[in-house]
Symmetry: D2
Subunit: 303 residues, 4 copies
């Protein structure tokens, strides 16, 4: 596969979309990013890494950290975590608190905020420091020890945490929170505020395309559990647009409000695309279009 | 692949589950079925068909007819149908009427009842007789001209149609119904009441594994549209258990309350499993277990 | 009490509001009414009737017929009707279908559409002809035998009945509908399409201020049941603005989208005000203001 | 009126209900109360106070403090408070978080928890110490300077505050919280944990029956605002049973999970009844029955 040629063609094809959409603006540290950026990188299972555009520029990973946290929790504790969080699509964004109430404090899946708070809480219990545990995994898998947390972003998120605090307290009221809410929130925002480039994220996600095998050849997850993480990414990875993402792109993927999206093609490669402008459902406009173009050009949709 | 051996092993493995769960009992014609039946069939893209157990016994296809109706609507009208129906998972069963109200009469996807009523309505408009159009497709693709509608079931469903009538009238109140509600309901129940065996259904579904190519070599859908039908089956095909089905089975699939499930492995084969006992979310208990076993034994999950 | 003086003062006071708001426009027969009309009438328990403005002009009573239907149902069948319909405020308009689904087809109260359909269904069962039963009551209590149904309105409503049909079918799916949905809808629209003046409605409502005693001196309801109808009017009579109406006006009242409102001051009088312009919650803008002015001037709020 | 005779008759009449229902058990300090207690007191506008049973035994007032907090907020700030909280019945208990989300952090009314938190927040802003402000009002109006807060209850509530914290943080996320959530929660629980007897509460509530005039002859609220507090009590004072309470009792009333209910008969008297056993909607079983009996015997329903 001529990855470099494909990526170059994609970059040309989505050029008109870069800068469109809306940059996340709920905290100043995110809203000040230049919207006219676009990068895409692919890391294949044989060790090749290619990229075009701003593929080496670090950005705020935000929710793209969630599959890494999920993988860690599964690695530590196995499928027992599903007692505390489901693995069903949530339906609508608006429903989050409703569903949490209906379903007695058990969030729908680990990729909505409520579910990610449960995973964080679990990692706080099992590792003592969920933020560091996720950061260590990201550094080790990307091979980049300089990856770090943007403390301005983390602090700014903590200062605007009321909605996540509401979710965490509601779960606590149902007995589904093991650690104090402020501790869980801090660990949660810490992992969201990590800054990485497309190159780093694609490389770090490679274990999801390699049946759970890490950069150092050891195994993080069994092949079966890895497929399961991928299935949750496909059905729940792009907020209330998971069906549309599956329809257009046809790959397991996880997006973040920083404009990044990580996608996995089992046994082939991991991809990361980034462009800050978001659509109404919180996914990068140029990013989704680039991934759609990728599966169209390569025919590598899982369907 | 030794299909016959794999299917035999699966049948032995799920034997203890056959008869468990609850047979659909909302109409007498369905509740009287013998729960101790199990069949599974696989039709591969090279023309082989294998099966074990009650794989040649006809049963009521119910919602397994929905992907065929969707494929027909896409074949006739292309992606314009998405103006009238979405392609996102619905979240929770209980939400159906809520969501329909929130989203102004546009149902979440074509595989919940409301969405299937829209597809039926569309086919009534474009073909004049949606029930016959779907039946003709099922006969042609399965190669079995004797497939027929169980009129007792159809009549019994019509006599218990209040909930579907409520959905249809609600959509009509938003202008999302082109034909009179009673006409749409009759055409809808007609296609649900078709009786087919696992053999017939696996064979009929083969075009979904062959990028849209029909039994006679002509094309029903483009390769791209076929992938898209598969993606909707994966994210929305098993009611409010789509995430769990993707997690355990890892295949596009569509279940029905008659106990049948159709699954697709792109470029390899189509599968149909049947056992009448349903779990709490309306999917065949032994059927889901058999498909999970199939992807475990073959490694053919899409993830 | 100088009723005539009070009514004249009120008419002057609300003059600036007449014509504001939005005339009901979901059917042509209602949307064509002249918005610049205002009438108010009071009928006291001693037999006096006073009015100002367009108080003798007939208008479409719409939901103002609902307390009369409820009174008839209670008179025929007593408190057993509460097995089929509740007497709690509904919370939000938008919730109607949600609540109906949650609460298994038992509507919140007899003054939302779903509840009024249950009352109509009950009257169809007990009287054979709910529309005529309500019309007869309105004629007898107002002393005006010429009151009639506007058939254009009734037919137009029937032609736009999808939402009410959805409610009725949903209730039928829970076993809470005794007669065929089309029969219930026809009887329901028949009573909504009655045309009456403020004079007629205030006079007809007098039994609610007289502890259940009718115009002819006989008793329709016991004193206790009459108080209970008044309590349901206060808590549920003005759609999702019942709390605001109680706060501003402080009287049991029932509004209709024709712009009429009937209010009751126990042991003193019944009032009817009419002006077609509606606020966002479906209540007459000038009408609510006029009633608020009435209780301010007289001090006759129930609180 | 022979109050003593009426109260004695009521006590005899509801005797069989005392001890039935369920004592509030979400905190130990409440669950340990003896369920076989019943008291009722009436304070009339002429200064008479009567009582029977355990009418002089202090109990935890809980939500019965809410109308006093509302009255203080209206006294300090007038009707501007309605920008931050509505005055509509909430519909269903289950909906509280849903509605809060739908309605952008503006709670339905001041008597559900979310609304009471807004009122408390407002009083923290205007008085500096909402807990003490409410306590001072209760002492002054009851004439009992020994009324105090049960600190065990307050501390126990704070330790189980997750659900209220979720509500407060959700409102904060919409900008509807002026003070830090922990401060508001502490002030809120402080006023709920006040211990008073039926005698004290009936006397303290008398200003609501006297058009706003306090025990010392000064005015807390205008007559018009007092009527408005009463109207909110009637439509929203008994959780999701307000319609039923209005139907059966026909008075403005406010209940608490300690088993107390305060009711107001404008221009006549204030009543307080107490018995710890609660019905499924959180209102005292024997208490509601006693008030129903009171209006039946006296004919003093507002309807």
């Amino acid at each position: 596969m001529d990855y470099q040629g494909v990526l170059t063609e994609i970059a040309a094809s989505v050029k008109g979309l870069v800068g469109s959409g809306q940059v996340a603006d709920y905290i100043p540290a995110l809203s000040s990013v230049d919207p006219d950026q676009f990068g895409i990188a692919v890391a294949d299972v044989h060790g090749e890494v290619h990229g075009v555009g701003d593929w080496q520029v670090p950005f705020s990973v935000q929710s793209v950290s969630k599959p890494f946290a999920l993988a860690l929790a599964l690695a530590h504790s196995g499928e027992g975590i599903w007692r505390r969080v489901g693995r069903e699509p949530s339906g609508t964004a608006f429903n989050s608190l409703v569903q949490l109430e209906h379903e007695h404090g058990v969030p729908r899946n680990p990729f909505i905020n409520a579910g990610a708070l449960v995973i964080t809480d679990h990692l706080v219990t099992t590792t003592g420091d969920a933020g560091t545990a996720v950061l260590d995994l990201l550094r080790a898998e990307s091979g980049n020890p300089h990856i770090s947390v943007d403390e301005d972003v983390a602090i700014s998120e903590l200062a605007n945490a009321d909605r996540n605090a509401a979710l965490a307290h509601l779960m606590a009221s149902y007995g589904n929170m093991e650690n104090p809410v402020p501790v869980v929130l801090e660990n949660y925002f810490w992992q969201c505020a990590v800054r990485m480039s497309c190159r780093d994220l694609a490389t770090a996600g490679l274990f999801l395309a390699r049946e759970g095998v890490r950069a150092d050849g050891s195994r993080l997850l069994s092949g079966s559990l890895t497929k399961r993480v991928n299935s949750v990414m496909l059905t729940c990875g792009t907020y209330d647009a998971a069906g549309d993402f599956a329809y257009r792109v046809g790959l397991p993927g996880k997006s973040g409000v920083g404009g990044g999206i990580l996608a996995v093609i089992p046994n082939r490669c991991a991809l990361c695309v980034w462009s800050p402008g978001l659509d109404a459902r919180g996914n990068s406009v140029a990013g989704v279009a680039a991934l759609e173009e990728f599966t169209t050009l390569t025919g590598w949709s899982v369907f």
